[in-house]
């Protein structure tokens, strides 16, 4: 066990005028060979800044290391010249990033991109390089390296891309790998595989890994040691089991508690009357070219569902499973190719836009991205009253209701006159909920409504949603990729894959004994099952 990376009292300054002076402050940490160190924290905790300062990739116009040392291979990375630093990069320390799609050059064959590293640091001939590249691709367990090497990033799946990144990073067998949220953008099943891969490569090559993440599930899966950061400072660190089971710092505790359990709580079965029924919904995307039809995508294939007042139906699935398509069809934001959507036994799927307007207020939706869900140029109030006033509610009344709703979602009524950019993500999501409720809907669709939020915030918004469901006897359709979240909020769930329904049933039953293979994989892939004993019932 030798120390590869040794950061001492590192402080990085923020540009003046920010809410705080330092992005990270007096951070000290070490990474030894053969160990994976996880740095956990929520957005703004400074975990990424730490990682980037090691690589010397900080945007110098904004962020500048002002104090401390970063020792790697007995050099202080903060003081050495650019040439030496460039040499170390890729050779001694390399990095993989959150978004493999954008992290790879879209106009370069992946093989060449991997080879580039060799080109920079070795004198190998192009044939030798090619051989090494194929080897590297094999090492990251990619099928058919030859054809993969000559393909472009956009032709690969997210998992494959991340493997490419890893191959690229590890081709020179660096002593230290820095992984910045490498699985956050991936589907849960893929995530499991990538995590496994990283762990395997790490142990086989005896590297040290500095692993940045926000997800305690992931931590539980992969970490040897854990470092928890908050507001640019390290609040607690320790061996993984120890830290997960007996967190000392309240913030650590808060984060761990915020991780939703995989075990669905006991729920009463709603027999309330049916609010909405969708029968055999089918959505086909097809580019019909000038000559014949282009390729056709079946985004959703005869999906039927019923939704009772006061119950929450979850649709879970990975990206591309078609769960959002179903939601948007029901919203009539897109028109289903076939199938009917019944509200009070009126088929709104058949209605023309003009007729549809009358039914709009009955279904409302909350979107994933809190930053794009509100018109930045209109005050929160305007956004909330817009709907009711469309349906002829008097301004005074609408604003009165808006105030009440703000209280309901836990914001002050004064906020109505403010603009979205003055709120945080969580607050915006609350506002969106208020906007939805303002319509007095019978059905509420939450499309990945909490996916973009930090765990702690996530928990609060989830509670809020559950409360309003009960308070207003809403029928809620909850779209998510996150099985933990689904477990907590859904009465019944439907599992989707590639536009088709895989399995449906009460949440408890499905989680307890999944019938379908895919469902089992999905559940198995959920990170951190083993190491959260108290959370796996």
């Amino acid at each position: 066990m030798t120390t590869i990376l040794d950061i001492q009292d590192l402080s990085v300054s923020l540009p003046p005028g920010g809410d705080r002076e330092f992005a990270i402050e007096e951070v000290s940490l070490t990474v030894d060979s053969c160990e994976i160190v996880c740095v956990v924290g929520e957005s703004g905790s400074g975990k990424s800044v730490t990682a980037f300062s090691v690589m010397g990739l900080l945007d110098r116009r904004a962020l500048n290391p002002v104090a401390g040392t970063i020792r790697l291979a007995d050099k202080d990375l903060l003081t050495i010249d650019d040439r030496t630093l460039r040499q170390l990069r890729g050779e001694r320390v390399s990095m993989i990033f959150q978004e493999p799609m954008t992290a790879l050059n879209p106009v370069m064959r992946v093989g060449d991109q991997i080879a580039e590293t060799l080109e920079i640091h070795t004198g190998l001939s192009s044939t030798q390089r090619h051989a090494r590249v194929l080897q590297a691709l094999a090492d990251v367990q990619l099928p058919d390296p030859k054809s993969l090497a000559i393909s472009y990033p956009h032709q690969l799946s997210g998992g494959q891309r991340q493997r490419i990144m890893i191959a690229m990073a590890l081709i020179l067998e660096p002593k230290l790998l820095i992984a910045d949220e490498p699985t956050t953008a991936l589907d849960v099943t893929t995530q499991a595989k990538i995590l496994a891969l990283i762990k395997q490569l790490q142990s086989s090559r005896g590297m040290g890994v500095l692993f940045i993440t926000h997800d305690f599930g992931v931590v539980a899966e992969i970490a040897d040691r854990v470092i928890v950061m908050q507001n640019g400072r390290i609040v607690e660190q320790g061996q993984v089991d120890h830290l997960l089971n007996a967190p000392k710092h309240p913030y650590t505790r808060l984060l761990i508690d915020a991780v939703p359990s995989m075990t669905p709580p006991e729920r009463r079965h709603s027999n309330d009357k049916e609010a909405l029924a969708a029968n055999r919904i089918h959505k086909i995307y097809g580019k019909s070219g000038w000559f014949g039809r282009g390729r056709v995508v079946h985004a959703a294939q005869d999906i039927s569902l019923t939704l009772r007042r006061g119950e929450t139906l979850g649709i879970v699935g990975e990206s591309g499973s078609g769960k959002s398509t179903v939601a948007r069809c029901i919203m009539r934001l897109i028109d289903p190719t076939s199938g009917e959507i019944l509200i009070d036994s009126i088929d709104i799927a058949a209605l023309r836009q003009s007729e549809l307007r009358r039914f709009r207020h009955q279904i409302q939706i909350i979107f994933q991205d809190p930053y794009r869900s509100l018109n930045p140029r209109r005050t929160v109030g305007d956004s909330i009253v817009e709907g009711p006033m469309n349906f002829g509610v008097a301004a005074v009344e609408a604003w009165e209701r808006a105030r009440e709703l703000m209280e309901t979602v836990g914001l002050s009524a004064e906020s109505l006159s403010r603009f979205p950019h003055q709120f945080s993500g969580g607050q915006r999501q609350r506002i969106c909920i208020a906007r939805a409720l303002a319509m007095k809907p019978r059905i509420l669709i939450a499309d990945e409504a909490v996916s973009a939020l930090d765990v702690s915030v996530q928990a609060q918004v989830l509670d809020l949603l559950d409360d309003v469901r009960q308070e207003f006897q809403l029928a809620m359709l909850f779209i998510t990729h996150d099985l933990r979240v689904a477990a907590q909020i859904c009465d019944r769930i439907m599992v989707m894959q590639d536009g088709q329904l895989v399995e449906r049933g009460s949440t408890a039953t499905v989680y307890a004994n999944p019938q379908q293979q895919y469902t089992r994989e999905l559940l198995a892939a959920a990170p951190g099952r083993r190491k959260f004993p108290q959370k796996v019932g």
Partner: protein, 314 residues
């Protein structure tokens, strides 16, 4: 891909049609009367009427239009009212100078503008950047003909380095005379084009430099120069090429002025003379021709996208 090319080519047909119609209407609604011009000072009203009939200007507009359209489809752009020569021949006579002037300008501009814009983007906010952008804005601010005069005055009259005017064909008079005669016009015409391209290059490269894969390249230990050449420029290419395509229109416009200033017997001069002389067939033919060139060039450029960016599939 082939499918796409076919579609793309077909899609230009309605555009051409619209251009044709537009041009035709434009000319027919104009008050100027070629017959009167031809008839000359001593002509009586009868003479004018007579000539008007011979030119077929008395037929109903619709008939005139379709007659004209039919001819075009057979590759006949009509015959000049004055010189009595087929418009296609007139265009052929004038094509070479304009074509070569355009080419030299495009090449020269790209050679100057792309590095300029890239440096400006890389050192954004620096003195070089400021200077480059000042130049590019300046390029948009000086009337072409003033620039032309100044260049003539300095290089030809004072320094006596280059000829004042005229055009020498590289095919018949050798490359030397060609270059010495084309130099000043190219310089004149390039300024605005350089401005255009360097602006776009800067904007595009700046954007690309923000991308994650640039960061990845750095993480590999790649040198900044290589990063610019191999990663940044390659990805910034599409908008740059696009603006060059759109710039063709600008170029053709500039050619009209430059050719009169430097007395180059090209298409720009031809169109100007034709307009002032009300030589309808030439005006129609030329505007159509230019539009065709523009559309064609941009078609080619569209197809180039696939080479520049593998993500673009047709």
């Amino acid at each position: 891909m082939l499918n796409y090319i076919a579609v793309r080519i077909l899609s230009t047909v309605p555009v051409m049609g619209i251009v044709a119609l537009f041009v035709f209407i434009l000319l027919r609604l104009a008050p100027g009367d070629p017959a009167a011009v031809i008839a000359g000072d001593y002509a009586t009203a009868e003479d004018v009427e007579r000539i008007r009939q011979q030119l077929g200007l008395t037929d109903p507009l619709l008939i005139q239009f379709f007659r004209w359209l039919g001819d075009i489809l057979q590759g006949d752009l009509g015959t000049s009212i004055f010189s009595n020569k087929p418009v296609t021949v007139l265009i052929a006579q004038r094509l070479e100078p304009t074509l070569l002037l355009a080419l030299t300008t495009i090449i020269f501009s790209i050679l100057v503008a792309v590095p300029l814009g890239t440096i400006a983007a890389y050192r954004s906010g620096s003195a070089i950047d400021r200077l480059a952008m000042l130049f590019s804005v300046g390029g948009f601010s000086i009337p072409v003909f003033v620039l032309g005069y100044i260049l003539i005055y300095v290089f030809s009259m004072q320094l006596k380095l280059l000829p004042v005017q005229g055009y020498k064909s590289p095919f018949t008079e050798g490359i030397g005379p060609f270059l010495s005669h084309i130099a000043l016009p190219t310089l004149t015409l390039s300024v605005i084009f350089i401005a255009l391209i360097s602006r776009m290059t800067r904007a595009s490269v700046t954007e690309v430099l923000e991308e994650d894969y640039i960061r990845t390249a750095r993480a590999k230990g790649q040198s900044e120069l290589r990063i610019l050449l191999r990663h940044a420029l390659r990805n910034a290419a599409v908008p740059i090429v696009t603006v060059i395509g759109i710039g063709i229109a600008l170029l053709i416009g500039g050619v009209v002025v430059t050719e009169s200033v430097f007395n180059i017997p090209g298409l720009g001069r031809l169109v100007l003379d034709a307009v002032l002389a009300r030589d309808y067939p030439i005006i129609q033919g030329l505007i159509l021709f230019f539009s065709f060139v523009y559309i064609f060039v941009n078609l080619i450029i569209d197809l180039c996208y696939t080479l520049l960016d593998p993500r673009i599939k047709y």
